[in-house]
Amino acid sequence: MGTSMGRAEAAEMVADVGRMQRATRRARRAIWFPLVLFGLIVLGAAPFYRPWPSSGSGLTIRNVGPVAGYLGGDFIGNAPAWYWLIALPLGYVATAAFLRWHAGRTGVAGRIAPYVAAGLGLFAFLVISSPSILDALGLPTSIGKFLWSNDLAIRGLTPLIAVALGFLVLAWVERSPALAAFSAAFLGLVLLANLYDIGNYFRWAGLSAEDPQSGAIVAGVALLLGGLGFGIAALRDR
């Protein structure tokens, strides 16, 4: 081979590689969009969550309707379940459409399929593992209880876990440590919202302590703030 090269030239080429990587990632990323969109979707779910029915010792599982289960329908009616069934798939479709448009505008198309597939797959898993669906399929509902402990599913906010895990996949696809850190923190927040009356921490903001609606509001605002942060960072990078 007739190639000859010195250390200085090699160092220059490696520096060029880093510069081009950064330029391409800047053009490719539009992380703010799904964060803002899902922030609005999660906030949009809040009105469908109503305060816990208080009846002496606590709650009675109603298991209403065909889509209840882990989509928020066990205790508080079917409205959140129907909302999630429509809004979450639409959210992923809208994200894919936006990123396709963004790729056409910038000339750089990222890998969006793993994020959309993971988000929809996790959501489908939630739906299928709901007791009502298992029952309708003639499968023992204990499978769902094995997969999702009652403590985790009791507030009907489990779709937020699917959203958070989807963002972790997006962070991996985008090779974004910042989004990975945000998604991990968001996952922690939504696990807390599922396991605990998170409104207790936000009484100062006028949220109800014992209302699953508070969990949806806190998670939605967190996503909107995250989207705002990533949007500002992207503008500064240009």
Binding site: M1, G2, T3, S4, M5, R7, A10, A11, M13, V14, D16, V17, M20, Q21, A23, T24, R25, A27, R28, G104, T106, G107, V108, A109, G110, R111
Partner: protein, 96 residues
């Protein structure tokens, strides 16, 4: 032990072609004009480099239309990824 320079691939070891592969590795596919602007090349120059890479089966080029606008999308192939990784390894070895 052989000198790292011996591991350099003539096709990839050219500043602009290396740049093309680096940009392509960062995305599923990249449009011709983004490559041209990022690498600061002319249309003709970029086309020549893409031909060399395509002949080596390191990239795949797809031409089409979006509305009335002609679009050329380029993506890196698995062989291109391997060649790029080997080139970057050799460059880093040179810096050690």
């Amino acid at each position: 032990m052989s000198h790292p320079v011996q591991h350099l691939d003539e096709v990839v070891h050219q500043r602009n072609r290396l740049g093309i592969l680096v940009v392509l590795r960062e995305a599923r596919q990249v449009e011709f004009r983004f490559l041209r602007d990022t690498l600061d090349l002319t249309d003709g120059n970029l086309s020549r480099h893409l031909h060399v890479l395509e002949d080596a089966r390191y990239v795949a080029v797809e031409k089409g239309y979006e509305g009335r606008r002609p679009r050329t999308w380029v993506r890196i192939t698995p062989a291109g990824r391997r060649a790029l990784a080997a080139e970057l390894d050799a460059l880093r070895q040179l810096l050690r």
